[in-house]
Symmetry: none
C-alpha cells in the first residue's frame, strides 16, 4: 500500500486529460515532506508549526495548505511514506508465525524515536477525527487487515479456536503494543517477546 497516495490530493492519471494551469511542483512536495521529517527529529509533533515547515522547505505556506488539509496530514504523509513503516512481511509458515512476525515488526516500528513520533501523531489525532481517520487509513488499516487474514486462516486450519472473535482478537494483539507506546513504557525485544508468548497461548 502506498501511504503517500492516500490523502494528499492525487490525480488519478487514468484519464490522460491534463488539466489547465501550472502543474503541481513535485520538487516542492518533496521539499515539504523532507523538511517535515527533518524537523521532527528535533521537535515534537505538537510544537512543529506549518510556518517552520514552509520556511525550512523554502515554500509558501499556501502551497502546504493547498495540498494538505492540516498539519497532521502533512506529518502522517511525511512519516509513513518512509520505507521503515511499510508493512511488507514474508509469507509465513503458519498463522501463528505470521502473527508473531507481525507483532515483532510492529514492536520494532514503534520503538525508539519513531515510536515517539507515532505516539504524538496518535495523540494529536485524538481531538481531530479527520486526522484520526487519516492515521488509521495510512497506518493501522494495513496491520488490521493482515491480522484479520491470518486469524481467519488459523481458525480454518485448526491453529486457533474456531469460536475466536476476530475483532476482539485483533484488539488483544494490537492493544498491548499501543498501550505500552502511549503509556510511556519501553517497547523492546524482551517485552515484545513476552507478549507474543502470552498471546499465542491465548488464541489457541
Amino acid at each position: 500500500m502506498s501511504n503517500e497516495a492516500l490523502h494528499s490530493v492525487e490525480e488519478t492519471n487514468q484519464d490522460n486529460s491534463r488539466k489547465a494551469g501550472r502543474p503541481r511542483s513535485e520538487s516542492s512536495k518533496r521539499a515539504i515532506l523532507e523538511a517535515t521529517r527533518r524537523l521532527l527529529t528535533h521537535t515534537s509533533v505538537q510544537k512543529l508549526s506549518i510556518e517552520a515547515i514552509a520556511k525550512k522547505a523554502s515554500v509558501g505556506k499556501t502551497t502546504i495548505y493547498r495540498w494538505w488539509p492540516n498539519k497532521t496530514a502533512v506529518i502522517v504523509d511525511a512519516v509513513f511514506s518512509q520505507p521503515a513503516f511499510h508493512n511488507i512481511l514474508p509469507t509465513p509458515n503458519s498463522a501463528s508465525d505470521g502473527i508473531r512476525a507481525q507483532i515483532e515488526k510492529l514492536g520494532r516500528q514503534l520503538s525508539g524515536k519513531n515510536g515517539r513520533i507515532v505516539a504524538e501523531i496518535l495523540g494529536e489525532s485524538q481531538a481531530e477525527p479527520d486526522a484520526l481517520r487519516i492515521f488509521i487509513e495510512t497506518f493501522l488499516q494495513d496491520r488490521y487487515n493482515s491480522l484479520s487474514s491470518l486469524l481467519e486462516a488459523g481458525k480454518q486450519n485448526g491453529e486457533f479456536a474456531v469460536d475466536l472473535d476476530t475483532e476482539t482478537a485483533i484488539d488483544v494483539i494490537l492493544g498491548p503494543v499501543f498501550f505500552r507506546l502511549i503509556s510511556g513504557q519501553e517497547i523492546d525485544d524482551t517485552s515484545t517477546h513476552q507478549l507474543t508468548q502470552l498471546l499465542l497461548k491465548t488464541l489457541r
Copy 2:
C-alpha cells in the same frame, strides 16, 4: 485515593500555624475546576484554553498558573476528581472475578463522552512527559496496582499460571480497552464482555 490531592499544591493544614497573607481562595479553586468541567462538554481538551477557563471562572490567569503547572494538570484535576472516575470496587470472590470487574468498570468509565475526554487528555499527554506522569499517577496507577494484586493472588491460589508475567499480563488486560478508545472504536458492554471472555481464558 484522592485524585485531587496529587498534583495541585495542597497545604497540609496539619500544622495549625496559619501563614501570613491572604489565604488561598477555595471558592476560586472550585470555580476553576467547575468551569473546566463545563467547558469540556462543549470543547475538546486541545481547544480548551487557560484564558477561557479564567474568564468563565472569573479568575485571573495567574491564579491558575499559581496552582497548576499547565493546562493538562487542571483538566486532569477537574475530570478525575469526579466520583464516576473513582476506582472503588467490592472485594471479589476470586481473582478472575476481580479482574472481570476491573475491566468492566474501566469499560464503563471510558465509554461515551467521558471516554472521549480521557482519550483527549491521553493524546495531549503524548507530547508532554509531565502531563503523562500526572495522568498515570492520577488515573492509571490505581488500576495497575489493583490488577497487579489480583494477578499475584490468582497465581498463588492456582487460578492463574504460576509462570505468568504480571507486567505483560497487565498490558494485555488494559491494552485492548485503551486501544479501542484511541482508535475510535466503540467501547460498550458487548466488546467489554467479549474481551473478558478471551482474557480470562488466556491467564489460566
Copy 3:
C-alpha cells in the same frame, strides 16, 4: 482627448506592418475595464484586487499585467475612459465664462460616487510616482492646459490682471475643489458657485 489611449500600451499604427503572433484580444480588454468599473461601485480602490478583476472578467491575471503596469493604471483607464469624465466644453464668450464653466464642470465630475473614486485614485497615487504621473496625464493635464489658455487669453484681452502668475492662478482655481474633495467636504452647486464668485474677483 482619448483618455484610454494614454497609458495602456498602444501600438502607434503609423506603420502598417502588423506584427506576427496572435493580436491582443479586444474583448478581454473590454471585459477587464468593465469588470473594474463594476467592482468599483461596491469596493474602494484600495480594496479592489487584480485577482478580483481577473476573476470577474474571466481573464488570466497575466493578461492584465501584460497590458497595464499596475492596479492604478487599470483603474485610471477604466474610470477616465467614461464619457462623464471627458473634458469637452463649448467655446466660451469670455475668459471668465470659460473658467466658470471649467470649475462647474469639474465640480460636477468630482461630486458624489465618482468624486469618491477619483479621491481614492489620487490617494493611491501619493505613494506611487508612476501612478501619479498617469493620473496627471490622463485627467489633470487637460484641465490644466485649458485653464492656462483661458488665463493667457484673459490677460491679453484685459479681463485679468496682466501681472497674474498663471501657474499660481491655476493652483488657486483647482486647489479649492480638490481640497474639498480630499478633505471630505461636500462638492455641490452651492459650494462651487461661491468658489467661482470669489475666484473671479481675485483674478481681476
Copy 4:
C-alpha cells in the same frame, strides 16, 4: 493643542482612582511611535507594516492593536506629535499678517520629506473615513480654526470684505497648498510667496 492626545485612548486622570490591572506601558508607547518615525524615513506610509513596527519596537503586535485602531492612526500619532508640526504662531499685527504667517508656516511644514509623508497619510485616508477623521482632528482642524478666527477678525476691522464667505475663503487659502502637495508640485518659498500675494488681494 496636543496632537498625541486626540485618538490614542487616553485616561482622563481627572479622577484619581486608578483602575486595577497593569497600567499601560509608557515605554512601549514611546518605542512604537519612535520606531514608526524611523521606519518612515526609509519606507512609504503604504509599505510600512504593523509587523515591521512591532519588530523594530520590540513590542507585540497586540499592543499596537490594543491602543490604535489601524496603521494610519499610529502614523498620524507618530508624525503629528513632533514639534515641527505644532501650530504655534506669534500674535499677528493684523489679520492679513496672520493669514500670511499661517500659509507660510503650512508651506514649510508641507515641504520636503515631511510633506511627502503628510501626502501619503492623506492619500491613505482617502479610502478610510476613520483615518481621515483622525487626520482632520489632529492636523487640519487647528489650521482651520485659526484661519476662521483671523478671517472673522479681518472682516470686523475692515481688512476684508464683509460679505466674504469664511468657509469658501478657507478652501481658497488651504486648497492651493494641498493641491500642490498632492499633485506632486514643489512647495517652496517662491510658490508660497506668490500664493499669499494673490490671495491677500482676493480677500479684500
